[in-house]
Symmetry: D3
Subunit: 322 residues, 6 copies
């Protein structure tokens, strides 16, 4: 069984019921909502031995995050921080309804994860995994978090572990200039990049169609694999092999979302899990799309599914793309 280690912040998501607005809400639902733990949960259900690594406050809210993730069968490896000093990161999420947009307010300043130091991570565990994964939102939290993420990718990369990142940038989380600087620092240790087309354009300040984007980003930053997701318009994956580049495209299965949170983490988890299996990029892309699709049909950010459901939709995705 391949092994995946992911590192990142999992904020506690607070969201009003249904389509209610935050401003008039009387209650909020709670969910663990982090790209890296979402990806790990999805990979776990696809048969990958997945561990989520993080730093959390030793408080009921911090323990709640771990409890929810472990209920999905995920293993966790946590550095517990003094809860009188460090906060649990929060994100307030309001579900939109067209033309009203979904909105997120990040309340993550001073969170425990933002203060993580390289010494807080179980580097031996990371160096013996098959894949190490993080999202850009984690190094975006603070200078400390950026250094720690870099140390983690460097350690993994140096040990022959496949390194991957998801550009899970969200408006209001960090200054775009800082984000670009951080990403450029990380590229040295990265092999796989997963990114929504709009986010990659924003962060790297580029234009171009998805195929061009994938090609130019892979070339400039010497990445082995670049995956561009396009929301309703499918996804593109490029493998940079000596001599020639291979490109795969997939359509999206059309579906109105029950809850659109967490789908990008599910994409990365599905993609990496299948990639870890036998390195088949085409199949991996289908599993990324399938996992993201299924994640949209389930309330909450985390994907709950049987493996056979992902298999079936991945097959449909492959059929539809022929």
């Amino acid at each position: 069984m391949p092994e995946l280690v992911t590192f990142g912040e999992t904020p506690l998501r607070l969201s009003p019921p249904g389509k209610e607005r935050l401003e008039t809400a009387d209650s909020m639902a709670l969910d663990a909502d982090g790209t890296e733990s979402n990806a790990a949960v999805t990979a776990q259900l696809l048969g990958v031995d997945s561990t989520w690594v993080s730093k959390l406050p030793d408080s009921p809210l911090g323990r709640r995050i771990v409890a929810e993730l472990e209920s999905h069968g995920l293993e966790t490896d946590i550095t517990w921080a003094d809860s009188t000093e460090y906060r649990q990161g929060l994100v307030f999420h309001e579900s939109g309804h067209p033309p009203r947009e979904s909105m997120r307010w990040h309340d993550r300043k001073g969170s425990a994860t933002a203060t993580a130091k390289p010494g807080d991570l179980p580097m031996d565990r990371i160096q013996t995994a098959d894949i190490a994964f993080t999202g850009l939102s984690t190094p975006a939290l603070s200078r400390d978090a950026a250094e720690t993420t870099k140390a983690m990718l460097r350690a993994a990369h140096g040990s022959g572990v496949t390194t991957a990142i998801d550009i899970d940038y969200q408006a209001g989380l960090a200054d775009p200039a800082f984000l670009k600087d951080v990403l450029l620092e990380l590229f040295e240790h990265l092999e796989v990049l997963v990114a929504n087309e709009e986010r990659i354009r924003t962060v790297l300040d580029r234009s171009g169609k998805p195929r061009e984007l994938a090609n130019s980003v892979a070339a400039e930053y010497d990445l082995k694999t670049v995956v561009i997701t396009r929301s309703k318009r499918g996804a593109v994956a490029l493998q940079d092999t000596p001599g020639t580049n291979v490109i795969h495209e997939r359509e999206t299965v059309e579906t109105e979302a029950v809850d659109d949170a967490g789908q990008h983490g599910a994409f990365s988890g599905g993609f990496l899990a299948r990639l870890a299996d036998d390195g088949d990029l085409s199949a991996a892309l289908s599993y990324g799309v399938a996992a993201a699709t299924l994640a949209r049909t389930v309330p909450g950010p985390l994907l709950t599914a049987e493996r056979s459901e992902v298999d079936r939709i991945a097959d449909d995705v492959i059929q539809a793309s022929r």
Copy 2:
């Protein structure tokens, strides 16, 4: 006022809220959900004097089934079984969201209805009704249930009561071979068959378009009326009259379902209620479609409506099919 008697199991449906998955649910809603009682409730609201006949455990769950049905104005005639010996049949239902499918897990082994003997039924009541109805899911429960259903249809048929069945087969409920055997035994006493096109093909192992299906099934099993429902593609009804067969077709009113459970029972109830009125097959088909359509717009398996609402939609169905 015409009289309808229906016999069958009404399991208690347990379903998580909204689109939640069973595996992560913290609570479940409860509903009485049986084809035969659903049909009776619909027929009752259309002015037919309807009675539901069954065997239930004398427990809070069994009594809850009766309470919910009686709140819809239905009369019930129950044989109460010792609740330390016999269970209340259960069905766990998870509402899907495309491309994720709705799922049902039947937990009906050892249910009180599965042990019903012919002597448990009020045969005099059945023999003085105008129509006697059951669903195939009931005789599918057990050999006992199959014998009891046969005895009920035989008694009704022998007394000149119109006999009808709905092929409400669901995956996981019973072995298809057993289902076919049971159905073949019942045909001797049956006049009206209502079936979804896919289910009739599965159970009787046939192919063909709906009109062909209706014709060949009516001919081979000597049925007077065969109704084939086609989900979003409408419904077809065939009346086998000496010399010639009359066929009617109806379009479905397009509507996304609030809750798709119970619609087939509502179809049978609407169809039989109108048929009992004056035997007009064309009108009956419209009422079947209208009742099923309306049932899809109401949460829970049972149809709650005013008669005028069914009338209005049946008119629309007739208009749309001209």
Copy 3:
């Protein structure tokens, strides 16, 4: 900051959860739901200093209406009536699902507002506002309410305040003949008329396309501005200026409603707020459509939004109509 005063009844809306039917509901949600207070809340969030004037029973239900409206930043000016004599008006609302229609049952007989006398209104406040607004449902309540509404419009009109009405007629609320009589009496003091095309046809017993309707109604009743809303087909506004009439049309932004209640009040509020700004009829029409669209995306009759959200959608409406 321009000032708006609205007068009318705000019944307490009681509605079952989701798509449940009243007949089987075990609980109901509560919302303040009156055209005049809805319009005032919308105008308030668009920067108009808005006051809602009414008569309510001095009971928990009456105070609850005021509490909900004041939580939206609205000012209120209430005549409190003896709660042992006068009721809080109620309306039971059932949300439909096509082809099942939404339904409303008015339970407003003997309500405090229905007994309002001219002396109950703060006429000085009304006479110093920029716009005075009411809905036809209020004078439709009773002869007293009709007299009081007329007195309010007369006082406003006589003091140079712009007077406006929304034909918010609903089936079951009042006799159509009485409605027409009441409306005809009010026309003398009215400048702006907002009406759904079907309602204006019903109440004034007219036919014709929206542009013709607007022209003929404006001409016959000497109105300065007539706005015809057309549900999914947009809206039309006519300004009757000496020599020539100006007509503007807008498309609707397509959206399935989360809750379709309250959208007409939001339309009037958005329209009047923008009109009060600089008298630009074209912009006002866009803001009416934008506010109504946004109101449909929010649960409950009252619009909760940031001003920037209305601005953005109004821009889209203008773009789409070019």
Copy 4:
């Protein structure tokens, strides 16, 4: 099986969740809550064949009342009134918490039951029952309701049916002077009186200890049986037999209430059901206390219980009173 017929209004109770106040409530639970139907439901579960007779609007709210009562196995015999003319009676109920008191706001003016005429009642059914029962709150609704109640008791009494009333007076429902007049008119046809000690003192303007009250009321108004309930202090029953009066007393089983609504109806139902059995006043008093006690442990006004539970608590009551 003895037969009980009860006549009266069953308002729809609307109550905020838990200990919330009406003034700040966002939702309300719905329950059928009438003394006469409560009594009939309790008598039904104790083996008495019970029918509730009333006049209701033919609206979803009116039908909801019947649906809830029939789900408890009660038979109903309803005169359906035009729902555009007549209202469903409502009562808003707020659950207190000491020292804050529970409160009820009656919104029953113009209700269908308040307009019931003698001709609306199924007199033949009433005249063939064993017991006919009503509460004072029903004739208190209006002059019409008072006349109809009198006609009902007269018809029953004249046919040898035992007639009974519960003084279920509540503040704010009617003028005390009117209540006394109504009650005095009814005494002519009454045999059994059930009353809380404070209410009987208020309505008949009397003082005295329970035993004295029972004696003097029985003597003055020529009643056969007088039962005085004393909330936490138990109950007293007097049987006026020629030559001597028999008096029984019972302690109450101490219990904090889950929901204190409906307990008086349950008392009357339990008392009359046991009385109908064999006329044993002492046993009847125990069953009244037991049913009221149990009703306090169940949410909602209606008692849901197995007969064996009432039997067990009635035994405890008898033991405790020895």
Copy 5:
């Protein structure tokens, strides 16, 4: 009508339903929960013209605080801060059940109120009020908040406004040494001190019985009025008048709490409102106890009540203390 101005932070309280633990909660209820706004809401319902002054982030959460308070009829005067810089203060609250204790986790670092500067306050409004009030938890937030609170009390005191503080200290909110320093700085401008006996002992590091405490604190810090609350053991008020000190004592009305949050703010609001009326310390003490008692019977921190309810309980308190 006397005027009260209160200044302080109102954090948003997030609390799991019922007795659930934070660690396993799936949702949380939201409530505005600040001593100063609680006090103002209570004073408002007792007829004092009350305004709450604060600094909040211009975000949905900040606006939600104001909306909830204004729904209670409170006037607010807010300095709106940039929501990308400043947070809404939060407090997580878990309701205990003996012997498990209620717990609060403050998440208020970096809140908008903590950064309030003297220039953010409407000093003219404060200087023209009758009473100015704050809680110790507000200056405890930060050095800025402490300076601003001092400036507010100095301005009020200098203008002849009665100044009052509630020692609403809670474990985990601030360092006790810092609290004492802050309080000592404020004493110069304070006239009225309200404090729970345990908190005053902790903050001022004193021992002694309530009467002694009140005497010694009043003497040492030159306070005009000192009120010591003692939870279930009642309350003591001392008035330091030239020549002699007057002391009043009150018993508490025993009641299990529905929600014990907010009662201390209600006490201060009730006490100050009555004091503002005619300066009768004895009556004021009764109203403080009554308001706190009533606040315990209502869910949520804010007191919803009719004035007559407070009057009635205050009377009971007076009776019980004679």
Copy 6:
């Protein structure tokens, strides 16, 4: 860290909200509720490395049980059974309110655990633990379950593992005669017995006061430790040492239960966890009482707490018993 392995069935508990009755419930909450997993969860939070061993159907319901337990940090070792053959055991639980009793209906026939064979258990894991624990309800399920439980205790006992059982018998679960037979078979391999005084009397058909019971049971069945719990009257523990028996007694901390389910499992978990620490029987008894007490204050059968909370209450228990 000591290791605990527990084996047993964890049925899914379905319970109506609050004090509602099953018969009228519209929804039910779901909870994992088994003595052995409850004990393991409690021991885990007290620092014991705990594993729960069982056989479950590979269905959403079976996986839900594991998910809930793993969210409490428990390790699980499950034999997954074919879900078309084997059911998930269910228990319906209705919370009483005095004098109405709480009730449980077991629906566990044909459950996966009831078919467990010795080969389904991870015997090596059991043989290397420090303590092996089960409840009597598990072997009571079936002859298969009894054999498997015996095999498990024999294997543990033979390897020097401390073996323990809780007599968690409940009415309606099994025939008392069968229970006694099963228990007698198990005694050969048992060292520690935990039992409620009434249950031990029923199962072993004995009388006597707790101390006598403990003595006679320990002597007759050669048990090393016997713990008798007495609900509100505390608990007694006896250690059978050569020459003399040591007996400890503890008072219970009085508390009304939020949810009384699961407290016995928490007792066993607390008792065994502390016993595993250093064998101090007196301390172990205090921890059993403390864990049970705390479990009663938390909704649901599983104890959620911080270790420090159990420590604090255990201290109180020790103080109270001196």
